[in-house]
Subunit: 243 residues, 2 copies
């Protein structure tokens, strides 16, 4: 049994979801992401419902237990995003994601902070993106925002951590998201990080979705993690997401 807590099921076909299930993934968290910049906040409001209702249903067809995570990804902030934040505040959710900063513009910071304040009020776990570019600098900005808000680290997963920002994230007591994917971490690097900082806070994920995907990255890396796999590939994600 594996838990892949960072997947964009909307980019995957049913046979791909089945392939994940057959590889041993039993639970996943599907994160909202719109692959072009939306022109309307309504697109996201309908999209969150599509994720909660239709994507959960599609996952259930192949016996995957799916947790939906909603929110505005920094690369798809619509005009009048306050409408989306009001919608998030007014309704019930299980988790927020993918949220965070990409370039740390004023708008991104406002949107990200808006989610965090709602998450604190509702006690919602947040899956927080860190970008490929300027990772260290943007991670520092991200942690600064969390710190200023006194955001509880136990409901914050800082994702796509690598050797550029590992020390920053590990020191703060946050969940450390390790994304094994082309352009992010290799399996070997993920194993090395777990060895370095211990298994208690590490959560492995695939970030599979709209692009080229290695669907079975969590079970494959689990094999290399040995004893640590139980926590890093299942229990920690369950605990973080409160399932």
């Amino acid at each position: 049994m594996f838990f892949d807590p960072h997947v964009h099921t909307e980019g995957l076909g049913l046979s791909e979801l089945r392939k994940m299930r057959e590889s041993g993934v039993t639970h996943l968290c599907s994160l909202y992401f719109y692959p072009i910049k939306p022109l309307f906040p309504q697109t996201l409001i309908d999209g969150f419902r599509k994720l909660k209702e239709f994507e959960s249903f599609r996952c259930s067809l192949v016996d995957l237990d799916m947790i939906p995570a909603v929110g505005i990804h920094p690369r798809c902030i619509p005009p009048d995003y306050k409408t989306v934040l009001e919608h998030l505040e007014a309704n019930e959710w299980t988790a927020f994601g993918e949220i965070g900063l990409e370039v740390a513009s004023k708008e991104e910071i406002e949107v990200f902070s808006g989610h965090l304040m709602i998450a604190m009020e509702k006690d919602l776990p947040c899956i927080i993106h860190t970008p490929g570019r300027n990772k260290r600098e943007i991670t520092m900005k991200t942690l600064e925002i969390l710190s200023k808000l006194n955001f509880p680290p136990e409901i914050a997963l800082i994702d796509h951590v690598n050797f550029e920002n590992l020390d920053l994230v590990a020191d703060g007591g946050y969940w450390v998201g390790l994304t094994v994917q082309q352009g992010k971490l290799t399996r070997e690097e993920a194993v090395k990080i777990v060895e370095e900082i211990g298994e208690e806070k590490c959560i492995l994920n695939s970030d599979v979705g709209f692009g080229e995907n290695i669907l079975t990255t969590v079970p494959e890396t689990a094999k290399m993690l040995g004893k640590s796999a139980k926590k890093v590939c299942f229990e920690n994600a369950k605990k973080f997401l409160g399932v």
Copy 2:
């Protein structure tokens, strides 16, 4: 080389699109469909752009030549759908689909007729759904609407034709869409229809998308069609879509 002119690429992952390409499908038409009832017309307006921009890009990654078709499917008519029709009228498109009637409610008829009038004005090919339930009755209603508008049959593909409505569609001079899929036509039935009415107006398709899919249905049925495959699985779709 095969042309699959009824696909919902938004329900397919990249490895599935690649599998289609490897089976010999070189061209496809991707039709807009939102798998829950949208609450906002804006969702469709953003969705059409996602289909035109992002889905075309995703198809190009696996060397698939994709024609986007947009419009309001009868099962996903949003409130204030006139906003969507105005958007369709004000912009440039290649094809309309998936449009048509599901239960032939007053609202469905208004939405369908709205698309047809814009299509006539812009000379756009239309891929027109016929439902599983009451297929003969709803097809009669569909053809009545087309006929009243003097809609040019050469830009109308009546889709999901089977033995229940074949005579109605064939007699009208419309393109006859043959969907080989579980719950629609078997390969043998599709071949039988082509033998019965000739290859000139038949267009084979898979309707693959969000559900259980046989991705290679067009190439597989082509093998059974012999000499007719050239027209039914490629040339007719090309002619209809004006590519």
